[in-house]
């Protein structure tokens, strides 16, 4: 029961309010305290340089956590234990993060760490990500951590420096967008299909200027991995962040993780976390309703994540510039079938879909089957911890026996800056989050999909509805 004197507030407002060092005024933005900054090699070097140039120290190294993920190779080290980077610059960037973290006393999970992984996979796995926190990273998919009821968002390198130096950011208060998702998901449909459907519905700029809160029976029924997949892609509709109110599922996931509170602290933390939810009667600036029962396995057909169709629908036709540009780049004919398009590469990985649940789903579908000849499949676990768990369950062997490659953790072909890339014109079915032109390699054509759809497409060598392989089993 909320006190009658307290106005009803949303989850976002509660977390925002707790972190105000100074309120916003007509002339100045709010000063928002940041509980945790996650760092990686690509967007941090210039920020550390700036601090050095000004003679500033990192204010709270204990509130920083670093990893190497973007430019690291996913091929194993050679017999001397040496990792071979795609370019000397990539190695130099990683080396520089090591130096910067050592000089500033920041915990860095490098090659020798059992936790190392994609920044948005590692943080939650270690229990560093907790409800009610403010979390930033020089990376737009930081919204992933909102799955725990944290306010988590991506920032640029200048702001990475601001947080290193002051643990604060200058912020104007964003708007709120409630997305209510109700109903049970159909067989073969998961969180990735839900979020692709949502982005398709509201558009690539439908969330601009807003923090999303996802709620409703579909969201409550999701496990943490699924919630992370959903929150992860909030940026793809332009939103600053995506959040889910913490509940028993959240607490059960966090309990016992290395950085989660322990003992008496745990009980106190859970009591507090339980208050982090939107009050009845609180209003969002905008509310969108999604009927989850209607969502089909979904894929993108074009060159941004809002160009989404159900997998069994025809590829749109249209005469507007955006549609023509997309069809031209994707080498698709408007009105033709999506299902059945021949696939060159399948990528399972990225901070959207590289967690144990994703790997299990894909492996289950692939068990005893083979990747189609002429199709290449890369499976890249999100972290060392995920890799170990997957290997303990024998998932790696299922992928390897199917003819897929099982790689070392990292961002890999999600942004293809480490050398893992698709060739010009290759059609890639990818569980990552961006299908921009050239994202996965120059001229590469990306179809974003769920792990199930990716696995089914790998077996068939064509874009395939996972139900084709699932129905036979039930």
């Amino acid at each position: 029961m909320s006190e009658p004197s307290q106005p009803a507030t949303t989850l976002f407002e509660k977390v925002w309010q707790r972190h105000l060092v100074r309120e916003e005024s007509a002339r100045t933005p709010a000063i928002l305290y940041i509980d945790l900054q996650l760092l990686h090699e690509v967007t941090s070097p210039q920020a550390f340089d700036e601090l050095k140039r000004r003679g500033l120290k990192v204010r709270r190294p204990d509130r920083c956590l670093a990893t190497i993920d973007h430019s690291t190779p996913t091929t194993p080290p050679d017999s001397d234990g040496v990792y071979h980077y795609h370019t000397p610059e990539a190695k130099a960037q990683v080396d520089m993060l090591h130096v910067n973290c050592a000089e500033n006393g920041i915990e860095l999970h490098g090659w020798d760490s059992p936790h190392r992984g994609i920044v948005h996979v590692m943080g939650p796995e270690m229990g560093a990500t907790q409800p009610g926190m403010t979390i930033v990273c020089g990376d737009s998919h930081t919204a992933t951590h909102g799955a725990f009821g944290a306010l988590a968002f991506g920032i640029g390198t200048t702001e990475v420096g601001h947080v290193l130096a002051t643990q604060c950011l200058l912020q104007s208060r964003p708007k709120t967008l409630g997305i209510r998702i109700e109903g049970s998901l159909k067989k073969g449909v998961g969180a990735k299909d839900v979020i692709l459907h949502v982005i398709g519905a509201i558009g690539v700029d439908g969330g601009t200027g807003s923090v999303i809160e996802y709620f409703g029976s579909t969201v409550s029924a999701m496990d943490m991995e699924s919630r992370m997949t959903m929150c992860n892609m909030s940026i793809e509709c332009g939103a600053k962040a995506g959040m889910v109110a913490p509940d028993e599922t959240t607490f059960a996931y966090l309990k016992g993780r290395p950085l989660a509170p322990r003992g008496e602290d745990w009980a106190a933390a859970v009591e507090d976390w339980k208050t982090l939810k939107t009050d009845p009667g609180a209003r969002y600036d905008r509310l969108v309703e999604i009927d989850a029962t209607k969502i089909e396995p979904s894929v993108t057909w074009g060159i941004n994540p809002g160009m989404v169709i159900a997998i069994d629908d025809a590829i749109p036709s249209g005469a507007d510039h955006s549609t023509l540009d997309a069809l031209n780049y994707m080498q698709f004919e408007g009105g033709s079938e999506m299902a059945g398009q021949p696939v060159d590469v399948v990528f399972i990985g990225s901070c959207t879909n590289s967690r144990l649940r994703d790997l299990r789903e894909a492996a289950e579908l692939m068990k005893g089957r083979k990747v189609a000849s002429g199709t290449r499949m890369l499976v890249v676990p999100g972290s060392e911890a995920t890799r170990k768990e997957a290997e303990a369950e024998g998932l790696d062997r299922i992928f390897l026996q199917a003819g897929a490659e099982w790689r070392e953790p990292g961002c890999s072909m999600c942004l293809a800056m480490n050398g893992d890339s698709a060739g010009p014109g290759d059609l890639v079915v990818s569980t990552s989050n961006r299908n921009f032109k050239g994202r996965q390699g120059r001229g590469a054509r990306t179809i974003l999909a769920s792990p199930l759809t990716a696995a089914a497409s790998a077996i068939a060598g064509r874009v395939t509805n996972p139900l084709e392989f699932m129905e036979a089993e039930s």
Partner: protein, 189 residues
């Protein structure tokens, strides 16, 4: 370093919606540890083919960094990745301002921190500019006005704090550092 407060130039137009930061600077160039010299990678895949030769259909072929410092682009400019390399590359390439009917939040933020002006206007104004490439424009930060040849003065919104910092040469990190006592109080809670 303070911004002169005014940008006066002809426009250069890229009439494409949803230009993402992967287009502005592709991921392969993010291994740099510097912020300088990224202009050569700006819109790289639009300008060069796989072997590094200029593409015959390069839409930036006619770009002149002296006379065309204002980029006009379709809506939702700068969507996608948070890479600050995008405004660094645009600035180094020669742009001082971008006009669009909508900017992605992180890109807008990153641009303002580097003195690249994101000028958001109504769709009708953006359409007019896109349909008439090369118009002379004048952008005045302190009065928040965009003057367009043949259209007159149009007010645009610019976060007042960023505008103030830009024109006065106030560094946002210095501003934050001045609040150190309050930050310490907050931490001690």
């Amino acid at each position: 370093m303070s911004h002169p407060g005014v940008v006066e130039s002809s426009t250069f137009c890229l009439p494409v919606h949803n230009i993402d930061t992967d287009q502005i600077i592709p991921g392969q160039f993010l291994t740099t540890t510097e912020r300088e010299g990224l202009g050569r990678f700006c819109f790289y895949s639009w300008r060069f083919d796989e072997s590094g030769n200029e593409r015959p259909d390069n839409p930036l072929k006619a770009f002149d960094s002296v006379s065309q410092q204002v980029l006009v682009a379709g809506s939702n400019f700068g969507c996608g990745s948070s890479r600050e390399h995008a405004p660094w590359a645009l600035l180094d390439f020669g742009f001082r301002a971008v006009i669009s009917s909508q900017f992605a939040d992180i890109f807008r933020n990153n641009s303002l921190k580097n003195g690249l002006l994101p000028v958001q206007v109504d769709e009708s104004v953006a359409d007019h500019l896109l349909e008439n490439p090369g118009l002379s424009v004048r952008i005045d930060i302190s009065s928040h006005t965009l003057s367009v040849e043949g259209l007159g003065d149009i007010e645009f919104s610019l976060d007042p704090f960023s505008a103030y910092c830009l024109t006065r040469g106030i560094d946002q990190l210095d501003f934050l550092l001045e609040n150190e006592p309050e930050i310490t109080d907050f931490e001690q809670g």
